[in-house]
């Protein structure tokens, strides 16, 4: 059993919040560059170049890339040999978010009650997903999720017979409905299977996958390629100004499901695909 002080968790979460919001991950920047090379729309190309430049400016000035620093989603894999000491584990995650958003000059975008809508002023509570895994390490990923793209995410139960074609149609409908408002170029996370709750969970986890990495199963990797091609034929383009770079990547995750069901979820990530991970 390894003892892990809660303060280490607080400090790590705080740093990950700041890192995620102040600099975009390298695979995303590479995705922008690849899109610049492929984009045929002059307006679209100029948007992509400004996104690359904006990341540079944010790094130089140590400020958030985008002002919508999101609702904070935190994924924790807790090794079963880790003994958290000195306080409550879940509270430590929230304290880390509170600290990070204050120290990083990030926007507080959370209202405590969805109907009364009073801001909590510290960006908590974060949404925390915790799993217990073998080992004595603690792995944390922070995903600050902006509202402009999250608002276009959707799920549906298809009939099992609708199959891959039904999934493709549902995803394309979601992308066309979002249009320029979701801040393309997008990363599109698709969940297929599981239950009502599981399918949205895996759709969101899909957007954590690095751009350029396909699913291991050949039929799912093929579906990802087809979806990306179809999405980039919609004409929406960067910011909805027209073009071929509507999405930089499509990642599909699957899970076992009931014999009667074919649940599908689409989680839309804007061009500011921020995420940061650490292991302690």
């Amino acid at each position: 059993m390894r003892e892990l002080p809660v303060q280490d968790i607080v400090d790590t979460v705080a740093k990950l919040c700041i890192d995620a919001c102040h600099k975009l991950p390298p695979d995303l920047i590479a995705g922008f560059h690849q899109a610049v090379a492929q984009e045929i729309s002059p307006l679209g190309k100029s948007v992509l170049l400004k996104l690359i430049d904006n990341d540079r400016i944010a790094r130089e000035q140590n400020v958030p890339v985008c002002h919508d620093t999101g609702l904070t989603i935190v994924y924790v894999s807790l090794g079963q040999e880790v003994h958290v000491v000195g306080g409550a584990f879940q509270e430590a995650i929230q304290a880390g978010v509170r600290k990070g958003y204050a120290e990083g000059y990030m926007r507080k975008s959370v209202v405590g009650d969805p109907l009364l809508r009073v801001n909590t002023n510290d960006n908590t509570p974060a949404v925390v997903h915790t799993e217990i895994v073998p080992g004595d390490r603690l792995h944390i990923t922070v995903l600050p999720k902006g509202g402009g793209s999250e608002n276009w995410s959707t799920m549906k139960f298809l009939l099992p017979g609708e199959g891959a074609e039904g999934v493709k149609k549902f995803v394309l409908d979601a992308i066309n409905t979002a249009g320029g408002a979701a801040c393309p170029p997008l990363t599109v996370g698709v969940g297929i299977g599981g239950s009502f709750d599981k399918v949205t969970e895996i759709a969101k986890k899909a957007i954590l996958r690095d751009i350029g990495i396909h699913h291991q199963a050949p039929h799912i990797a093929a579906l990802e390629r087809e979806l990306l091609e179809d999405i980039n034929r919609t004409g929406i383009g960067p910011q909805g100004y027209g073009g071929v770079s509507t999405a930089l990547w499509v990642a599909v995750e699957t899970y076992a499901c009931h014999i009667t069901a074919l649940p599908v979820a689409v989680n839309i990530q804007c061009h500011a695909g921020r995420r940061a991970s650490a292991e302690i």
Binding site: P64, C66, H67, N151, A181, Q239
Partner: protein
């Protein structure tokens, strides 16, 4: 497509020179207000009360900044999705507002409102908040401090980089451009 250098407030004569796809570098005062402030503005108008600021000829920017970092004039900020303001913006355009800065396509009601009121919808690139900060010269809180990031701020900007996305002729850049590329990319 033309590049314009304009200063607020905007007159009908200037607005009539703007065409979808034109680039506008906007300078002068713009008012930052988004969802919650728009709701209050429209409630005041419905009650026949005056607004806390005179919007005649002015341009509103749909922004909600990060906190200001020490040494900076303001927090990083870029426009939020414009469509959410549509039901309020048509009312404000009817009451003298001349322009709005947001991101993303708007609904048919806005097209009609731009035409009817000789008004304009601009877009700035969503999410380039670190970049846009360099165009903000000063900021002053003018109303609704309780709304925090959604409070109304009077910003002085210099060459704020915009694109005309809905013009006073009723055209819509998003619809036109997407249709062009959709056709080009059809299999």
């Amino acid at each position: 497509m033309t590049t314009h250098y304009l200063t607020t407030p905007l007159t009908d004569a200037v607005i009539n020179t703007l065409v979808v796809g034109d680039e506008v570098n906007l300078s002068g005062v713009i008012y930052m207000a988004r969802d919650a402030a728009h709701k209050r503005f429209v409630e005041l108008i419905q009650q026949g009360q005056p607004l806390p600021i005179d919007l005649t000829g002015q341009v509103v920017f749909y922004g909600g900044p990060c906190p200001t970092k020490p040494g900076h004039v303001f927090g990083v900020v870029a426009p939020t999705s414009a469509y959410r303001m549509d039901p309020y913006a048509t009312v404000l355009f009817d009451h003298g507002l001349k322009g709005a800065i947001g991101k993303g396509n708007r609904g048919p009601a806005m097209r009609e409102s731009c035409k009817k009121n000789t008004a304009i919808c601009f877009s700035a690139i969503g999410g380039i908040s670190a970049t846009l900060l360099s165009c903000i010269r000063s900021a002053e809180l003018v109303a609704y401090e309780d709304l925090k990031t959604e409070a109304v701020q009077r910003l002085v900007v210099e060459n704020f980089p915009l694109l005309v996305t809905n013009d006073a002729a009723g055209r819509d850049l998003y619809e036109e451009q997407v249709a062009i590329y959709k056709k080009k990319l059809a299999v």
